[in-house]
Symmetry: C2
Subunit: 215 residues, 2 copies
């Protein structure tokens, strides 16, 4: 299918490349039409890869992925334009991390709200599904590189949108997908990042994830 | 050893009973000396069990456990008295959960601080170690009831205090103890509660924990 990826950083490019490998046609969107990183990515990625503005990627995609940094996500979505996103599924991969005071980051929004909710509130006609934000991008696209039955979460208000996202995650190799509930459950997975960053520091790698032990 | 448990709720009593079973002498402390729940617990728990005020339990314990609800923790510690806690290890089991608006709770403090840090700041001479706050009390005292290599975390500024706590956790049956770092890492485990409560709701049980998948 046609997929628009907002954001040309490591996460956007890694997901874009994975989506291409699965046969999708991917446009990477950025603030400007001539983003060099995006152009270089598209050049090396084959005929199904393209790049453009946020609006261009939103127009292109039947399905959209928000891979912009948390601080810039709402600006990027404003540039993408509600009229090009309404009715579509938007997978929100982003965490509202604030690195302005260095490491460890804090969260820009948290506790009684979440970035996922802020986006859903700003774009009520978009089917926002928070997912993949609890792992580094290498794990997002290749969960099999970690052993065992580790998990990925979905949060969103629209059941069929979450089903569509679950199917995509399955195609990535995910075997254990936990649907936490409505978009307010994104508070849980975004806040988990405050533990994730401490484990990252402790383990010296982002190549880890959590599994659930249950009787 | 002599252990003082602050708090007579489910968590305090469950930990108290476990500590007795391991041969420790446990005093349960509460706001008043004649707390009925504590008296009943002590009556049924044998000669090594006693109950009293927060100050009495703090005086009794060579090691202390904070099992008061998050909202009341600082008041309870004030009643216990710095002079009876200074130099001792205080295991802070509590989460700063605010249920005043119902379920799901929010956190009273979070993001750029934590209850563990607030306690350490208020009592600089106490060796605060955050631990066990990421699981329900049934799991705290009996990790073997869940399958696999699931984890418990410690956060604290004093390495030897954390070593003492790790030894106690090992005596409870914990096999995988992750020392996250100084007391500021309690932000991670306390914020994880916002995910924990959503999983609790989703699973319909508090009898679960996380394991780490790592290559």
């Amino acid at each position: 299918m046609n997929i628009g990826v907002l954001g040309t950083g490591n996460v956007g490019r890694t997901l874009g490349t994975k989506l291409l490998s699965l046969g999708h046609r991917v446009m990477l969107g950025s603030r400007t039409a001539d983003n060099e990183t995006a152009a270089e990515w598209a050049k090396g990625a084959g005929d199904a890869a393209s790049h453009g503005t946020f609006a261009g990627a939103a127009e292109h995609g039947e399905l959209l992925l928000n891979c912009v940094s948390g601080a810039r996500a709402l600006d990027a979505l404003a540039a993408a334009g509600a009229e090009r996103m309404n009715g579509k599924v938007l997978i929100d991969v982003t965490n509202p991390l604030d690195f302005s005071k260095g490491f460890p980051p804090t969260l820009l929004v948290s506790n009684d709200t979440s970035l996922g909710e802020e986006i859903q509130r700003a774009y009520p006609e978009v089917k926002v599904v928070k997912a993949l934000n609890t792992v580094s991008c290498d794990i997002m696209v290749d969960p099999g590189r970690l052993p065992g039955d580790h998990v990925v979460f979905t949060s969103g208000n629209d059941a069929s949108a979450k089903g569509e996202v679950a199917a995509l995650l399955t195609s990535f190799g995910w075997k254990r997908i936990i649907d936490l509930g409505d978009i307010t459950t994104a508070r849980g997975t975004e806040s988990y990042l405050l533990l994730w960053v401490r484990m990252y520091q402790n383990f010296g790698t982002g190549h880890f994830n959590i599994a659930i032990a249950k009787a």
